[in-house]
């Protein structure tokens, strides 16, 4: 089963992402900020995809992407950013950090699932 790590400091956002992913049969791990997500990743929690918010306390999403890319076992893992930020500058920052893609909130469940299916295939 494909395992996905969903990172967002908002409980309601984690819940909506979780509902969406579980409806498609994905297994979901959750983290409430970049720091918790990185600790999970370093603890060898193997995932097939990470979906992360940008604006989070303790560690933001762009920093998380950069830190995950530095881990040998996460170099090939797709890292999708899910954020309210829509500016070209922020997208470029995410791309430079190593993000696989950029989804602007509010996300459409159908579109997110289609994107994930494309990435993990």
């Amino acid at each position: 089963m494909t395992r996905i790590l969903a990172v967002d400091d908002s409980p309601s956002m984690r819940q909506m992402v979780g509902v969406t992913l579980k409806s498609a049969g994905y297994e979901v791990l959750e983290a409430c900020d970049g720091q918790e997500a990185l600790a999970l990743a370093k603890g060898q929690a193997a995932v097939d995809l990470v979906i992360t918010d940008v604006n989070m306390p303790n560690m933001d999403g762009i920093t998380l992407v950069r830190e995950l890319r530095a881990l040998p076992h996460y170099r090939g893992v797709p890292l999708l950013v899910l954020t309210t930020e829509a500016s070209a500058e922020k997208k470029m920052e995410g791309k430079a950090a190593g993000a696989t893609g950029w989804v602007v909130k509010p996300f459409s469940p159908a579109r997110l699932l289609a994107t994930i299916a494309r990435i993990v295939s």
Partner: protein, 175 residues
């Protein structure tokens, strides 16, 4: 020029407004959690229906009119998806209000600690405003702030950018 007493009252008034915002966000939290839970349960229920439909060797065991059943399930799924999309606007609202709270708290703090004739105060207000602006999450929010509190160099209103940002909601880009 305001007296220290007036400045202190203004600081207290702003602090009271901050507390009201915090209360409003707190009061809506439980109903939104309940709404999220209902969506979760509806989604799980749809999964159960689909599984029952797939496993049934006798379609009539699940539905007398299987095509109608499938259409109804698909329609319900679209409605659940729509609910998930709409609930995210609550998340945007909370984010926005937290930034407004922080800005007001900073403002109240400055009013309470400094007099308004302090020659350094202009820089402080600009700093608070600029910090608030960087945390706003849409061009619409930034434009409203620029209209109410113009930056020193004047505001540059770009309605195209605001429209573009609105159009970007829900967009997906793979690098």
């Amino acid at each position: 020029m305001q007296s220290p007493a007036q400045t202190s009252e203004a600081a207290q008034a702003i602090a009271a407004a901050v507390a009201q915002i915090e209360l409003a966000v707190r009061e809506v939290q439980h109903p939104v959690e309940q709404l999220g839970q209902l969506i979760d349960e509806m989604s799980a229920g749809l999964g159960v229906l689909r599984t029952a439909r797939r496993r049934s060797v006798n379609p009539d065991g699940v539905a007398v009119f299987p095509d109608d059943f499938d259409r109804a399930v698909d329609k319900l799924q679209k409605q659940v998806n729509g609910s998930i999309t709409q609930l995210q606007f609550y998340d945007r609202l909370v984010q926005h209000l937290h930034h407004v709270q922080d800005y007001l708290s900073g403002t109240a703090g400055e009013l309470a600690s400094r007099s308004t004739c302090d020659p350094q105060s202009t820089g402080v207000w600009t700093g608070l405003r600029d910090r608030f602006r960087t945390r706003l999450i849409s061009q619409s929010q930034r434009q409203v702030l620029d209209a109410m509190l113009p930056p020193p160099g004047g505001a540059d209103f770009d309605s195209e950018q605001a429209r573009g940002e609105c159009a970007a909601q829900g967009s997906v880009e793979l690098f």
